[in-house]
């Protein structure tokens, strides 16, 4: 009788201690885990960016330039006399920034030799997906001035 009473008391005390310690540990771990997971930062959405005039010397010389589109890099390519194309510049393989090889007429990622054609399609190397194309418009700002290249989300 007394033995069973004391074992139930022991079990109760153990249960009580165990849950208290467990609750204490949880009450420490929960704020710490929440703290180390970074809060979501609101990002300004960009829909349109002026990439400068068509006569941009950098564009003429290298055949491309990287344009800031909000927080994202975008590659603007001069494929022909009046043929401008824009794609997201982040390689779909491991997030390096691509460049345009004028001699090969290919979009090239130097990190792992990923290759895309001038439509942004992944044609060789490791990239799994094509680059996302953006819309390019030439906008005349004023008489006598060269038109501006405007990139927008399609």
């Amino acid at each position: 009788m007394s033995a069973s009473l004391s074992t139930t008391r022991r079990r109760f005390v153990n249960w009580f201690l165990g849950t208290s310690v467990g609750a204490l540990v949880l009450s420490i771990l929960y704020p710490v885990l929440r703290f180390i997971s970074p809060p979501k930062m609101p990002e300004a959405t960009t829909n349109e960016v002026d990439a400068g005039p068509v006569t941009d010397p950098e564009l003429a010389e290298k055949g491309f330039k990287i344009v800031r589109f909000g927080a994202e890099p975008v590659i603007l390519i001069k494929a022909g006399e009046n043929d401008f194309r824009a794609f997201t510049a982040t390689c779909t393989h491991l997030e390096c920034i691509v460049e345009y090889r004028k001699d090969k007429r290919l979009i090239w990622c130097n990190c792992h030799d990923g290759q895309y054609d001038l439509s942004g399609r992944n044609i060789a190397g490791p990239p799994p997906k094509p680059l996302t194309p953006l819309k390019v418009n030439l906008v005349r700002r004023g008489a006598g001035q060269p038109p501006s290249i405007v990139i927008s989300r399609s």
């Binding site: 204490l24 420490i28 704020p31 710490v32 929440r34 703290f35 180390i36 997971s37 970074p38 809060p39």
Partner: protein, 388 residues
């Protein structure tokens, strides 16, 4: 064989755990009416552990530059989930750590626990307290608010007024002639790398020595032979320690939740200082002493430099107490040191109260003394089982 037993057997073959287990089983704590003071060191250690944990967490979001420091702390306080809690605990625990370290020092001083063979334990303890104050001083600047900016200007300027080495010290502390973003990076380096490295070495040695030497029994208790059967460290004393730590954690969480640490306004090197600009409370007695010194100079030394060098000397003497106190070695008592200690404590408390134009510091000290006395009597008297 159960899983736990298997794991234990596996470990026993590879790690000399049996030695540790033996040490744990053998370690005992003397029981007498001053046993309550044995908890103060452990309590200081608890607050230090809180500092390390929350400090590492704060590093995830803090940015140590004049342009971003204030904003990053603001981000922690307002945007990061539980950021206000982590930062407030870091600030509250820092203050409680220094307070308990001081209580620990004072109790060790009055119970003469520094006497042979514990001289080095005392020295490492004092060094750890100085390092802790260095943590406080360097950490104070990091939020880059007005209060921190001017406190750092004043603090480093005080170091600069010491003759001969002052100019070097000022430039060394500030990382240049002025308090700038460069000072902030420098203080950050000290706060999160250099001081922690030093602290781990000093504290490691301190704790190791305590383990090797065991607890000191006050000479008076030893003389009178008023010892009870000692308490086993494991589990008895450790469980009481852990109970105290749990209470301390509760108090910290309550303080942080009810009184989140303020951030204030961003530092502006071209704005006037606040009225009543103050250092942290544990520097207040020195700050107040300096306020009392008039301007002027003697033998090319500014009056101001005299108390500053005096505090340096007191720090050195404090470090050397075990080597200076010969009475405790030869006669087993040293009432002179006790008297000097009382004067020192009264001086610090009164100057702090004066500095704040408030009696609060006196009430805090009296309340602490009453609490420790009540705990001491409460844990000593009622149990008859421990009697020899």
């Amino acid at each position: 064989m159960s899983v736990a037993a298997k794991v234990q057997a596996w470990l026993d073959e590879r790690v000399p755990l049996s030695a540790v287990r033996e040490l744990m089983a053998k370690k005992t704590v003397p029981v007498h009416k001053y046993t309550v003071f044995y908890y103060l060191g452990g309590m200081t250690l608890f607050f230090f552990i809180c500092q390390v944990m929350t400090g590492i967490l704060l590093m995830l979001y803090y940015r140590p530059s004049a342009d971003e420091a204030f904003e990053s702390v603001e981000f922690i306080m307002t945007t990061v989930p539980f950021g206000w809690l982590i930062r407030s605990i870091h600030s509250w625990s820092a203050n409680l750590m220094i307070y308990f370290a001081m209580l620990h020092l004072v109790s060790v001083f009055f119970l003469k626990a520094y006497r042979k063979p514990r001289e080095l334990t005392w020295v490492t303890g004092c060094l750890a307290l100085f390092l802790a104050m260095g943590f406080g001083f360097s950490g104070y600047l990091l939020p880059w608010n007005k209060l921190a900016f001017f406190a750092t200007k004043v603090g480093t300027d005080i170091a600069g007024s010491v003759p001969i080495v002052g100019e070097f010290m000022l430039r060394f502390l500030r990382g240049g002639d002025r308090v700038t973003g460069g000072t902030l990076s420098r203080f950050y380096g000290w706060h999160v790398a250099i001081l922690p490295a030093l602290m781990f070495a000093v504290l490691g040695l301190h704790l190791l020595l305590v383990q090797l030497q065991g607890m000191s029994i006050p000479p008076k208790i030893e003389r009178e032979g008023k010892l009870r059967r000692p308490m086993r460290f494991f589990p008895g004393f450790l469980l009481r320690d852990l109970f105290g730590w749990t209470m301390a954690l509760g108090v910290l969480a309550a303080l942080a939740a009810l009184f989140p640490w303020e951030l204030g306004e961003k530092a502006d090197p071209f704005a006037p200082a606040y009225q009543n600009i103050r250092p942290e409370w544990y520097f207040m007695f020195m700050f107040q002493t300096l306020k009392l010194v008039p301007g002027g100079e003697i033998f090319g030394i500014e009056y101001e430099a005299i108390p500053i060098m005096g505090f340096g000397l007191v720090g050195l003497l404090l470090l050397l107490v075990p080597f200076l106190d010969r009475g405790i070695v030869t006669r087993g008592k040293s009432p002179g040191f006790t008297a000097v200690g009382v004067i020192g404590v009264v001086y610090v408390v009164v100057m702090t109260a004066w500095g704040y134009h408030s009696l609060a510091p006196i009430w805090v000290v009296l309340a602490t003394a009453a609490l420790i006395a009540a705990l001491g009597v409460g844990t000593y008297r009622p149990s008859m089982r421990g009697r020899k």
